[in-house]
């Protein structure tokens, strides 16, 4: 039997949709990373750890409150907790390091990953946790004869909303405009009498909020466990690099490429599906070493 005969238009369309819901998570996490990279010029290695903390807090909040309400509230609480934590880190530590060279900042954020990793171990122990989606989002519905999970649909609807929110934030609000300006020339912004330090704090907070949101959203679909930070941080960095460092729309484009090649690869060549997204990254970098879109660096 021909190995590819099961690839019909319906199965391809379904696979694209499944891939797009994964893209949503990747976009949310990597856009936060990209935002911080673009404005603060910090390659935040601890972004993945914040994603992990987001997932753990979601678990605890959802279990503590209980029921469907617990899950929905946890989706708001977890990113907020992560944002507060990042604010404390930024005000308490990071802001004293902005003038240092990149290597120092890289080392600092790497140290943070270790601290956050141990923090998670301290609070939640080394066991993994598992969270169930609320009944509304459980199960699947039929899509041209193939099942499509409700939770994936939820992610699909949420993705564009987050993208829209980010667009509004960066283009229509004062803080967004200041952040954009600070990304280009921070001395000039400071010379205009604006407290750049607080702009940075706000941007760092928003970026980390997105990491927490990503973690909260994946919580019901996978194990909440130590080590989930490593997987996501590598993927997020690859996405940011192929999209163009610091470019938010680049992160969207990168996430799309990564998520879709992954899903389609699984359908077309399942034995070697693991390599597909990475091959896509290599191809992009060969032809556009600085990423697809304009980098802010």
């Amino acid at each position: 039997m021909d190995a590819t005969s099961h690839i019909t238009l319906a199965s391809l369309a379904q696979q694209v949709l499944v891939g797009l819901s994964r893209t949503t998570i990747l976009f949310i996490v990597s856009s936060g990373l990209s935002l911080i990279l673009g404005v603060l010029r910090i390659p935040n290695l601890s972004h993945g750890s914040l994603y992990m903390i987001g997932a753990f807090v979601t678990y605890s909040a959802a279990v503590f409150i209980g029921g469907s309400t617990g899950f929905w509230l946890a989706l708001i609480i977890a990113p907020a907790v992560v944002a507060l934590l990042s604010l404390a880190v930024e005000r308490g530590l990071l802001r004293f390091l902005y003038d240092r060279e990149h290597l120092m900042l890289l080392l600092f954020t790497f140290a943070l990953t270790l601290v956050f990793g141990d923090l998670v171990k301290l609070i939640w122990g080394s066991d993994y946790r598992s969270l169930t989606a609320p009944p509304l989002l459980q199960g699947s519905f039929d899509l041209a004869g193939l099942p499509f999970p409700r939770y994936n649909l939820f992610l699909l609807l949420l993705g564009p909303l987050v993208a829209l929110g980010l667009w509004l934030l960066t283009n229509k609000t004062k803080i967004g405009k200041l952040a954009k300006a600070a990304a280009v020339d921070r001395e000039m912004v400071a010379a205009m009498g604006i407290n750049v330090s607080w702009v940075f704090a706000a941007v760092f907070c928003i970026g980390c909020f997105l990491a927490g949101l990503g973690g909260a959203l994946v919580a019901p679909t996978q194990n909440i466990t130590q080590g989930m930070d490593h997987t996501i941080i590598m993927e997020a960095f690859l996405i940011v690099i192929i999209g163009g460092l610091g470019n938010m729309w680049g992160a969207l484009l990168g996430a799309l490429i990564f998520g879709l090649t992954d899903a389609i690869g699984i359908l077309v060549w399942p034995q070697f599906a693991i390599v597909f997204p990475y091959v896509a990254v290599v191809v992009v970098l060969v032809f556009r070493p600085k990423g697809l879109l304009q980098s802010t660096w």
């Binding site: 039997m1 190995a3 099961h6 690839i7 019909t8 319906a10 199965s11 379904q14 696979q15 499944v18 891939g19 819901s21 994964r22 171990k121 080394s126 066991d127 993994y128 946790r129 598992s130 169930t132 989606a133 459980q138 199960g139 699947s140 193939l146 099942p147 499509f148 999970p149 409700r150 939770y151 994936n152 994946v218 019901p220 679909t221 996978q222 194990n223 466990t225 130590q226 080590g227 989930m228 997987t231 996501i232 992954d262 899903a263 699984i266 359908l267 399942p270 034995q271 070697f272 599906a273 693991i274």
Partner: protein, 404 residues
């Protein structure tokens, strides 16, 4: 004067002998455990350790091993081969342990097995599923208590061959365990049911965050049944994705340990129903006095139900105590001679340690995940026992694997 000196020397010598003897008497018998006690694997390994500790407590209450108190030392390998191997060396050199026990990480189990052969220290493997441990790379000083991929393969194939499915799909973790289990099942299934056909295969990375695209792609290919060769921590998210996509309702699939408590309990009431699984142990089956007593004792000590690891820990302790008792002295070679072919009682009935390859012959239970009103989580239903003689590879196959 001369007489006096002789007396003193004699006295001193006698004293030294006495001190030496009491020192030997007081010196505890040491069991060194190296395993991953942090991170996801600890779900499985904690029960091995705790059941062993519980059994050791009883052994000590009954006078220890040949009059020596048993002491258990544990080391966390953090699932890293270098850390685990260093810990094993430290246990041998500094703590001078008499026995080594561990580990869930196959690469580490094989590394410690090499060390055990060189140092001539018996090593009991309590969770790794690598068939190489008691197979191709087996030797006099290594013992495998947990079932291995060859046994899983044979047991699963026995069960699957009875079902009417012909077109299969194989999916699993892209590392040794996944490939070994899939290979084990498929080779044997093809042998006993030649008309089965393999439609295709999918392999994902260990710790894959999202199984949904894999499942939808498999469903699109419309196989009769799917063999899922995934292990450890990936089982839970895979079953979650199976539940979300309704995979289990559309295509039946097999997954080793799907019916195991450690795998199914985290899913609570939200597990996929009807998944075919195999396991060495269930706290509710077999419904015998021995098993009930074991469960009650474990639950009383730790406040939780025992999972399959508890069985491995218990059997290990019984073999160690039984072997030395039979040998009559604390001597490694005498112990090995005594423990080879030994049969010990266990919650699943008498278990034999096969003399040739040092593999514990445990029965395997095949069943499907089922919801019952008694528990808040799913259990294995319609359990069928696959006798160890049918699951373990024959001694001839082991000889061949070892190149003899």
């Amino acid at each position: 004067m001369k007489k006096c000196t002789l007396l003193v020397v004699g006295l001193v010598a006698a004293l030294a002998l006495l001190v030496g003897a009491t020192a030997a008497l007081a010196k505890p018998f040491k069991i060194g455990m190296v395993d991953c006690y942090s991170g996801p694997p600890s779900t499985y390994t904690n029960d091995v350790r705790d059941a062993l500790l519980l059994a050791v407590k009883k052994i000590n209450a009954a006078g220890g091993i040949n009059g020596r108190k048993v002491e258990v030392l544990t080391r966390d390998s953090k699932f890293k081969v270098d850390l685990g191997l260093a810990a094993a060396k430290e246990l041998i050199m500094r703590e001078e342990v008499d026995i080594l026990v561990g580990t869930i990480n196959s690469a580490l189990a094989l590394a410690i097995s090499d060390l055990a052969a060189r140092e001539k220290i018996p090593f009991f493997v309590t969770f790794s599923k690598s068939a190489k441990i008691s197979g191709a790379k087996g030797h006099r000083y290594v013992f495998q208590i947990s079932e291995n991929t060859a046994m899983i393969g044979k047991a699963a194939a026995e069960g699957l061959a009875k079902l009417p499915y012909k077109k299969y799909w194989i999916a699993g973790d892209d590392y040794e365990y996944g490939h070994a289990v899939a290979q084990g099942i498929w080779d044997y299934l093809k042998k006993i049911k030649p008309d089965v056909k393999l439609l295709g295969q999918s392999w994902w990375k260990v710790g894959e965050p999202d199984f949904t695209p894999y499942i939808t792609a498999i469903l699109a290919a419309k196989p009769d049944a799917v063999i899922v060769a995934t292990g450890g921590r990936d089982c839970v998210p895979f079953l979650k994705a199976a539940q979300a996509t309704g995979f289990n309702k559309k295509v039946p699939f097999f997954m080793h340990t799907a019916t195991e408590l450690a795998t199914i309990r985290p899913l609570g009431a939200n597990a996929p129903e009807g998944v075919i699984g195999t396991s060495n142990y269930h706290f509710y089956y077999p419904n015998t006095k021995a098993n009930k007593a074991f469960v009650a004792e474990f639950q009383k000590a730790y406040g939780r139900l025992p999972t399959v690891g508890a069985l491995y820990g218990y059997i290990t302790a019984q073999l160690i105590a039984g072997g030395y008792k039979k040998a009559g002295k604390v001597d490694t070679e005498a112990f090995i001679n005594a423990v080879e072919g030994m049969v010990v009682p266990s919650p699943v009935g008498p278990v034999k340690l096969r003399a040739y390859d040092h593999q514990a012959l445990l029965p395997m239970y095949l069943g499907v995940t089922k919801k019952v009103p008694m528990y808040k989580f799913f259990i294995g239903g319609d359990l069928v026992t696959i006798a160890p003689e049918n699951a373990a590879p024959p001694v001839e196959a082991i000889k061949k694997a070892r190149g003899k």
